[in-house]
Structures are given as structure tokens and as C-alpha cells.
Amino acid sequence: MKITNNQIEDLYQFTRKHFVYHYDVQTELVDHLANDIEEIWLENPQLTFEQARDQSFKKFGIFGFMDVIEAKQKQMNKRYQKIMWRFVKEWFTIPKVITTTLIFLSIFSVLKIRHSEYVLLGTLFILAIFDLINLSKLRKNQKKKEEKLEKVFLLEAMIEQTRNGFTGLTFINLFNFVNLTKASFSDLENYWLVLISFSATLIFILFYVTGYVIPQKAEELLQETYPEYKLVKNL
């Protein structure tokens, strides 16, 4: 007996019910279950599709698909980081390194001004608001996708979510940072200022890359990561 198209669709729903939300992970599991079910039918042709499916699922152990999801997540994290550094590195090579130096120098000169922490806080505040507006737009889009049960790939979801997480983290930490250093920046030694300016420049670039560059290149990156991406999206 062979698995029918409807049963394949049922298997996709089955993986979703067992907390596998991303299409790339689902696909591999669906193929595995389908192969196994066909094998089970060879030995026990009297079993129904559901019985064979449950028998096959049991082989994944008591945690079900959890181990698979976790491993996949780890693998994708590594890949995401690689992609991120690839873009961040660009900012330290010609010609972008000129912009990087300019950012660094402007932060440094702002820090030299008296009461620079207020200038910094103000700038951060404006950036945060600007970014939050963008985020809420993105969230709406994401919700629409979820409602439509579109096929969302793991890396695709990560590109959107890392953006959220990273932005939040950066801002929360920077606010803390400014609050913690009660001493005003302009009184600090120059090497401290260089260090702070450099870190701030790096954070700014990371923020820009994860928040704007990678999402813009998402389509390209997804095609590079998933050989099946075009095939699936055109279905």
C-alpha cells in the first residue's frame, strides 16, 4: 500500500500538532513517517493509516519530535550566526569601513561633550521608537502569515524573530548601561571612551544588520539555505 496525497497532508498536520511549526522540519519528518508507515503496512496490511502512523510516531520516544526540533534549532542558530558575521564583516572592509569609522568618530566626539549621556539617551530613545513602529508592522504581517497557515521555514522565522529579540536586548542593556555609569562620560579617560565608542559602533552595526540588512535579503538567504525553497513557495 502506498500513502495517498491526503494522508501526506494529514501527516503535515500531525507534525504541527506535535509542535513542529516550520515547514522544512515538517517535511523531513513527513517523509520519514510516510516511509515507515509504508514499511509497517508491508508487515501488517490490516492496520489503518492512523494506527500505522501512531506506531511509527512511538519510535521517536517519549519526547516525540522534541529532540529533532531542538537539534534543528541549534543547527539553524549556527547558520544564522554565520550569515550575520558575513554581513557584519562587510562593515570592516572598504568601502563600508569609512561609514563605520564615521559612526565611531561621531559617537566618540559626542561622548566628549559634557552631559553626553543625555544626548545618547535621547538618540537611543528616538531609535527605539522608530524601531518599535517598524516592529509592529512586521508583527502584523507575521500574524497574517500564521493565520493563513503559510509554509514558514525555520530560518525565515528566525530572521524575523532574532530581529525582535536582538533589538529589545540591545536597547534594554544600553539603557541599563547608561544608568549604571553615574559618572559622566566626558570625565572618563580617553581609552575608556574609545572602548565605549567602539562597542557602541559594533552594537549599532549588529542592530542594523539583523534588523534591516538580513530581512531585506531574506529571500536570497532562504534560497541559499533551502534547495527546496523556490519549489515549495511556487506550489
Binding site: 500513502i3 517535511t27 515507515d36 529532540d67 529533532v68 537539534a71 534543528k72 541549534k74 543547527q75 534547495p227
Partner: protein, 112 residues
Amino acid sequence: MGNQKLFKGSLQTIILQLLASNEKMYGYEITQKVKELTKGELNITEGALYPALHKLEADGLLDVEVANVGNRLRKYYKLTENGSKETANKVSEMQEFLRTMQQLVNPKFSLE
């Protein structure tokens, strides 16, 4: 099966070695092949196989290819260049380990 624990640490080596002798394989095929080669003695569990495959892929040892087979998509794994090199290393490590274990478990007595 009592020996499952013993072989868990060798899973990556087994996968790499299988892929070295078969150009490309998919997950289910690997479980079946191991069963066949060991005459059912070893059983790779699904919950261990895919995490191992994903880890090898993340480490750049495996590459993937997707094909449409009938009514579903199938993900094939194959060795990358690095993967081939690593296979040789891992296999010789494994052989070394087996020899050492052999000496520990089954020491040859001599009169010297």
C-alpha cells in the same frame, strides 16, 4: 537492546561511513541500512538519528539536496569535502578505540 548505549557515541561515525560508501542517503534509508547491515542487531532510533544528522550538517560535514518523490519531498544528505576528510579521521579513531577496548576486555595472557 542492551548494547544501544554503547553505540550511541558512534552514531556520527556510522552515518559518515555509510554516506562515504553511498553517495547520498535520506534519513529513513540510513535507519534501514544499519538494520540490514547489522542483521537487526543495531537499531538507530529516530530520536537520535535526525539530531545527529542536523549536527553534522551544522558542522559543515554534510550537505543537503531535496528531491520530489511521488507525492512528497525527500531530503538527501551527502558528504561535503570536509565531511570526507572527517570520515577518514573518525573511522581510524574508531578502529583505534576498538583495538584498545579489545585489549581491556579480552587481554591476552602470556607467561612473560
